[in-house]
């Protein structure tokens, strides 16, 4: 028998190879093992940078918020920080705290979302059901605090658009308490459940040297032992006034990425409590000019998936000369090919999902078409509609018992 192994090339994607997100992998296989991977990206390119040059700064704020449906506040904040730096605007401390509060709540919903996706990719759908149920608490809280479950539009040039009322604080605390208790359960699960550890350990290995060399960011790099976090290293908003730990791990695999994200959740809860306790009184925005003086600035922001970098160049008008956005997934995809090499083809979905690539969320009101007329529903009505829809099909949601304090 000749020992020359045959290489088989398998195209995977671009239609949603792992997550609901287009990207394409050209995978070379030797038996079940991956020998090399070539990535093709760009299927979701929407020309947002060009679009920004043709709109005013205020319009751009809403446009960049739509770069990503999950970390929308991250992009909006990264962008507006750069504009404020050029304009020389010092935003009120209370606004900094509110931005940070929304940022950490966003990290909570994003990490819980990831936990569910990771569970789903390894066939552990109970984890998906649990963590996405818990995530609803944050989503509803967003609706209450900002008016939206996604794309919160909390920022404005010079501060934030909405204040946090004193009577909202106990409710936020109650939700953080509930989520902390549940996260502790997930941490216990990750540390003690043997099937989970066995499925994730050694999968998608990325050494610290490779993580640094290939420019990995966020939890992906921290799970390979790189001790980096923009919130600590180049603080923005109110992070320099908060006490928190940067979570790192040296497993360098999907298990490590799980441990890091769970640890970060606990840090976020602690930060949210500090914010609620320390938030100073005062105005939430300063008056900002429509025209921004010529200049340039780079803003960095630790989004849930890693560092967002925004560059803005102003030319003295009400529109920017150039806006450049670097989202963390672009940085992390460079490492994916390395993680997949020498791994099994069957691990591809969880390895790709483990960098937590971004995809869009849905809106919270719908228009129902029927008999020629359309109708817009509010949140309460939408919930009742959903319950009725399932009940008509034989599922009674009220009979589903949820463990805990009934917040869900």
């Amino acid at each position: 028998m000749p020992d020359k192994k045959r290489t088989v090339r398998v195209p995977i994607g671009p239609q949603h190879p792992a997550l609901k997100e287009p990207e394409s992998f050209m995978v070379d296989l030797q038996g079940e093992k991956i020998s090399s991977v070539a990535l093709r990206l760009g299927y979701n390119h929407r020309g947002i940078e060009k679009g920004c040059e043709e709109r005013t700064y205020m319009q751009d704020l809403y446009l960049v918020e739509r770069v990503c449906g999950i970390c929308s506040h991250s992009h909006a904040t990264a962008f507006i920080q750069a504009v404020e730096e050029i304009a020389g605007l010092e935003i009120p401390r209370r606004a900094k705290y509110i931005r940070t509060l929304i940022a950490e709540l966003e990290r909570v919903h994003s990490h819980l979302l990831w936990l569910g996706v990771a569970g789903h990719e390894i066939g552990f759908d109970t984890l998906l059901m649990y963590s996405w149920r818990d995530r609803e608490l944050v989503m509803d809280l967003f609706a209450e605090l900002t008016g939206n479950r996604v794309n919160y539009a909390m920022n404005t040039l010079g501060g934030v658009r909405r204040d946090i009322a004193a009577e909202q604080v106990p409710h936020i605390q109650k939700i953080v308490d509930a989520l902390e208790e549940r996260t502790k359960y997930y941490i216990e699960l990750a540390m003690t459940e043997e099937t989970l550890a066995q499925r994730l350990s050694g999968v998608g290995y990325l050494s610290k040297e490779d993580a640094i060399r290939l420019g990995a960011v966020g939890p992906t790099s921290r799970a390979s032992g790189a001790d980096r976090d923009t919130r600590r290293d180049d603080p923005y908003a109110a992070y320099d006034e908060l006490d928190f730990k940067v979570i790192t791990d040296d497993h360098c695999d999907v298990f490590g990425r799980t441990v890091v994200r769970l640890g970060e959740l606990m840090q976020s809860y602690s930060m949210i409590r500090q914010i609620l306790k320390q938030m100073p009184e005062g105005p939430i925005a300063v008056k900002a000019p429509l025209k921004i003086p010529a200049g340039e600035a780079v803003s960095r922001y630790e989004a849930p998936r890693g560092e967002d970098v925004h560059y803005v160049r102003a030319n003295g008008t009400d529109r920017p000369e150039r806006v450049k956005v670097r989202a963390p997934t672009l940085a992390n995809t460079q490492s994916v090919a390395k993680m997949l090499e020498d791994g099994y083809l069957a691990d591809l979905p969880i390895v790709v999902a483990a960098i937590d690539p971004c995809f869009s969320c849905t809106d919270r009101t719908i228009a129902v078409q029927g008999n020629g007329d359309s109708k817009t529903m509010g949140w309460e009505e939408l919930v009742r509609y959903g319950v009725r829809w399932y009940r008509d099909r034989g599922v009674d949601p009220s009979r589903i018992k949820v463990r805990g304090d009934g917040l869900a």
Binding site: L41, I212, L214, G215, D233, D234, A297, V298, Y311
Partner: protein
């Protein structure tokens, strides 16, 4: 002396020509303006000797006859060095992939969106425009117009 000021001193000591071209915008932001000939040496020194091991991105700018290029680097202590250089349109820049293998995707972005020429970039698929996008159309150039809109305007 702050970290940023130390960096300025280190750079000027090695590259006297940079005197007056390194500015501190704020505690964590340093801007370095360097001509195209000196760029590879300055960039290599930052990445290899001065601890700028985090490669953030490249910003490309349409500056008329030139393409403006800003290479954004960072250090683990949070200090960010933004290295600006200019390349006449139609001429080439050397790839940075020998120093940052993950940097290729940002160079491909410059090629697609601004028509940059990058020498030494390993073969690979284009990014981010589709395969059937015309090779000579670069949407981030200031005079670029979408074809349909251009036809209507004319």
């Amino acid at each position: 002396m702050s970290e940023a000021e130390t960096l300025v001193a280190q750079l000027v000591a090695t590259f006297p020509a940079l005197t007056g071209h390194v500015t501190v915008q704020r505690a964590k932001r340093v801007w370095i303006d360097v001509d195209r000939q000196a760029f590879p040496e300055v960039f290599r020194r930052l990445a290899k000797d001065l601890g700028f091991e985090v490669f953030c991105m490249i910003t490309g700018l349409d500056e008329g006859a030139d393409l403006g290029l800003i290479y954004h680097l960072a250090r683990n202590d949070g200090l960010m060095a933004n290295v600006k250089t200019r390349c006449p349109k139609g001429e080439s820049m050397q790839t940075i992939t020998s120093i940052f293998p993950g940097g290729g995707i940002y160079e491909r972005e410059l090629i697609d969106l601004l028509g940059a020429h990058i020498e030494g970039l390993p073969e690979g698929p284009r990014y981010p425009l589709p395969d059937n996008w015309p090779k000579d159309e670069h949407p981030l150039l200031k005079d670029w117009r979408p074809r349909d809109k251009g036809a209507k305007d004319a």
